[in-house]
Symmetry: C2
Subunit: 237 residues, 2 copies
DNA sequence: AAGTGGTCTAGACCACGCC
DNA sequence: GCGTGGTCTAGACCACTTC
């Protein structure tokens, strides 16, 4: 039992995701929630604001908070979610295959991306993702070797994020994603079932730890017909 | 001068964007900020949390808040920003051209998307966007006619968002974006300089008002080589 | 007038980093 | 031990919606 506001948040997030709370349902008022959870109003509000920010509810001044239906049938790929978490959500049969795992010296471009010196070794992990019987995603990960001393086939085929957060005590804090569309490389053609598609969707991911050091750079290359990115955004100000 | 916490937020957001506050600079402590702005600590924290959520700063327990360099040279397309705001940011010469503006009866698919009956008329606005001399974006907007009574060529070539927020008293609250890659239609080929590219990036946008009614559906179709989507995401929990 | 959410305050205790 | 951010409280006033 950790945070009070996270408890309230997760409580409602679960009930909304499961459909137990229907779309357009009115939540209890903030005053009522303070009594239900034995919390102060600001604590309740912190939970409700998180729910609103993540697309679960809409708060309307003078009326109350209402369950939204936007996120219901979509899985937002925005936010930081590992492939394993994602695969679990969509419930499709999926598989990760390790292509190669080695320590390499970064070329200048990569050293630049990771903000390290050219002689500082990095892990290079190449993996393919098979979903519904088709191999459609190629993931290339580069991690700072000084921050991740050990890496095995088993870890790579399970979830690197999980390993980092559970085993090591590194916490991932934020990431910058860049989505572009490019021509497939011979490597893409070789490792993926491209089915003649002449382009590939590239999702670059810069992953940072809590102290804001960049420690991982990932390129996730998707066959275009299977690519789908969903984002929920609020207009502030 | 409206909100106290928004004042603090904008103050730092501007100073960070302008480069007046350098990357890795330490912000004043929360305690110091309460005195600088004559605000309580929770108010200061609300501003700092907004800055952190939007990628401006990183808060580190026990040490302080530090300026991040992630958002500096990128313009995040995540969040809700109109094309006009976007064009202003990147500073490139750009132009919007109205292709057609009419009232149509929605087909079933569109009526479904907008959650309206099939006999309820909607605005159909088709526009092309020219950036750096090339026409590379095709925007198709559908708006509920009951919510937007008037729409002119001038408004469409300026900014529909701006018109809605300033002239009408409608406030845009949130949106759901879906990015996919498809084959170009004859219309794409006709209106855009496709240069032989065999695919097109489609950004679907469902835009909601503050009372959570869906009032606009937009399809933004981008030539793949010029498409770029940047997203900043924090890992919560 | 009563109920709702939005903002703000002045305190409190805690966990963490640093010296 | 001191300064830092993270959580939480019990109140206050305001603007808005509903009746």
């Amino acid at each position: 039992m950790d945070n009070k506001y996270l408890t309230i948040y997760r409580d409602f997030a679960e009930r909304i995701e499961s459909g137990q709370l229907r779309v357009r349902t009115k939540l209890p008022s903030e005053h009522e929630l303070t009594q239900l959870y034995g919390a102060s109003r600001e604590t309740v509000r912190k939970a409700l604001n998180l729910l609103a920010e993540n697309g679960y509810i809409q708060k309307v001044k003078g009326r109350g908070s209402f369950v939204l239906g936007v996120n219901r049938f979509e899985f937002p790929v925005s936010g930081l979610v590992s492939f394993k978490e994602l695969a679990a959500r969509i419930g499709k049969e999926s598989r990760t295959r390790l292509v190669s795992l080695e320590t390499v010296a970064p070329n200048r471009e990569l050293a630049d991306l990771l903000h390290i010196r050219a002689n500082q070794p990095v892990w290079e992990v190449v993996r393919t993702r098979t979903i519904g019987g088709e191999t459609i995603i190629l993931d290339k990960d580069y991690l700072r070797r000084d921050l991740v001393p050990k890496l095995t086939k088993a870890i790579c085929e399970d979830s690197i994020y999980e390993y980092l957060e559970r085993t090591l005590d590194q916490s991932i804090s934020f990431a910058k994603k860049v989505i572009t569309v490019e021509e497939p490389t011979p490597e893409d053609q070789d490792l993926l079932e491209m089915k003649g598609y002449p382009m590939i969707v590239v999702v670059q991911n810069h992953v940072y730890l809590e102290d804001a050091t960049l420690f991982q750079y990932t390129e996730s290359r998707h066959r275009p017909d299977k690519f789908r990115f969903v984002d929920f955004a609020r207009r502030h100000q």
